[in-house]
Symmetry: C2
Subunit: 306 residues, 2 copies
């Protein structure tokens, strides 16, 4: 038996996990969830889910568990630690592992899951909190055909697009890591360029307009520069996400003697921004770091966003 296929656990109820839980509830699943934050647990209960005190209680008898915690260490703890998910899931259930992590860690967890009689899908996500809530995430997934089959109803509920990247766990994580390398560099470059433009006394709104129509544009430039123009650094995605993700990129590079000068420069900028007290602010805060250093003034928050 593989448990009741309508029972799904979601462990980690941050902005992404909670959004995914809502999408699953809307799709008719019985969702039980777990998070250290009381506020997050209440939000799940308010959305029609069941808040559990431990990962194990959330996963008890479920056919699938979606793990949306911050990193590999937390994923390992909630899966295989005390009161963990793996020991509680129904035999043959599938773990959908969505935290960004090094591919080697994903492989290690998949082997442990297999030893426990469980399926494992390496399934990092992208798209942000809004798309998590609307069930329109992008999933970069790899794993055995059985794992895909078992996870399919869950994927259908949370994702607009599932990239099926191969049968080996680790590929999904590798794709996500490459994406994060680019995303992090593009955010840091956007911030560097916008404050540099300010130093040249340019009209920043005009710079945004011209660059987004030119060869210098990027998805991140288009998405993050409006935060700078509005002076709104409330965290849609925090600086700490990129110190973490570019940290993983850096670890992998060092592990295989692969030089990453551009990604490393970006990592150092996110670290400097975090060190300046902005770790929990929006990642466009790298622009505020440049402005602080150079004594330039960026747009102040409008009344709406202040």
């Amino acid at each position: 038996m593989t448990g009741n296929p309508r029972n799904v656990a979601v462990v980690g109820l941050g902005s992404m996990g909670l959004g995914m839980a809502r999408s699953l509830i809307r799709a008719g699943f019985d969702v039980s969830g777990c998070d250290l934050s009381e506020t997050a647990r209440s939000a799940l209960a308010g959305a029609g889910g069941r808040a559990a005190a431990t990962p194990g209680l959330a996963a008890k008898g479920a056919a699938a568990a979606v793990i949306v915690v911050v990193n590999a260490a937390q994923t390992e703890a909630v899966l295989f630690g005390e009161d963990g998910v793996a020991a509680a899931l129904a035999p043959g259930a599938v773990i959908v592992s969505s935290a960004t992590m090094a591919p080697g860690e994903a492989k290690r967890f998949a082997a442990l899951a297999e030893a426990a009689g469980l399926l494992y899908l390496d399934a990092p996500i992208s798209g942000g909190a809004t798309k998590a809530g609307s069930g329109e995430l992008t999933v970069m997934a790899s794993g055995a055909p059985d794992a895909f089959r078992a996870a399919r109803p869950v994927l259908d509920a949370i994702a607009a697009r599932v990239h099926e990247l191969g049968p080996d766990v680790g590929i999904g994580s590798s794709f996500k890591i490459v994406n994060q390398l680019l995303a992090g560099v593009h955010i840091a470059a956007a911030c560097e360029a916008m404050v540099f433009a300010k130093s040249l006394d340019l009209d920043l709104a005009r710079v945004f307009e011209v660059i987004t129509q030119s060869a210098g544009t990027s998805w991140m430039f288009e998405n993050r520069v409006p935060h700078i123009l509005e002076g709104d650094y409330s965290p849609r995605s925090a600086v700490s996400i990129f110190t973490k993700d570019l940290g993983i990129v850096s670890d992998i590079g060092r592990g295989q003697n692969f030089p990453l000068p551009i990604a490393s420069a970006a990592l150092q900028l996110f670290l400097a921004t975090a060190a300046a007290g902005m770790a929990r602010d929006d990642d466009a805060s790298v622009a505020r770091l440049y402005a602080q250093i150079t004594g330039l003034e960026l747009p102040a928050p409008t009344e709406e966003t202040a």
Copy 2:
């Protein structure tokens, strides 16, 4: 008098200048052009233009001169050097200056032009050789209303879009410089990410497909990665363009104590790629540099492109 308004000189007949000359000829202008290369001069003659031996002869009596040489030093030489454009143009004619340069250089040339009784439009271009040939460039222009008015027929013939960025010469150049900062960083990041993906043993064609649908994408990623996938490093835009343009970015940063860690990392990569013998190859050759350093193999040229 301002010369015959149908007489336009184009100085610098590289892939951009020649394309712009063709667009002007197609729009009915009498185009005389000048370039050090005999091949380029013949190509202009073949396209219906008139090849001249010096910038001055090309500009003699023209109402407008488009300067599309490599940098500020060349622009200064063809405008104000021996047999230069400025002394040959009709009084009140307009100089359309399209080489990428520091805004301070543009201002200096505009002052010299004004002293010679000429109008000056600071008008860097973007879009590549194909759009130059089809008359669909993007122009980032600034200058006095009189200069815009005088240059309008020329701009209409060469550009799909003219950003009118203000009355002060230097603003157009500043916008172009900000665009080049981002473009250069994005190319270097795309190359770093693609070879890093190779080190993770990923299918590069699949990486291109997934990233272009994700938050990690950029205009340059979409445009340059196909060169890597096809193993085709024939120069659509050469490495030397970015050692030059990021060099200007770096000079400006140093001149005003503005730190540019991301742009500097990218500049060093383009310099390393040039030092490795690829200065005249396509700028996606930064990927070949990473591959050489790490001993990884990138796609070989297909028969079509070899």
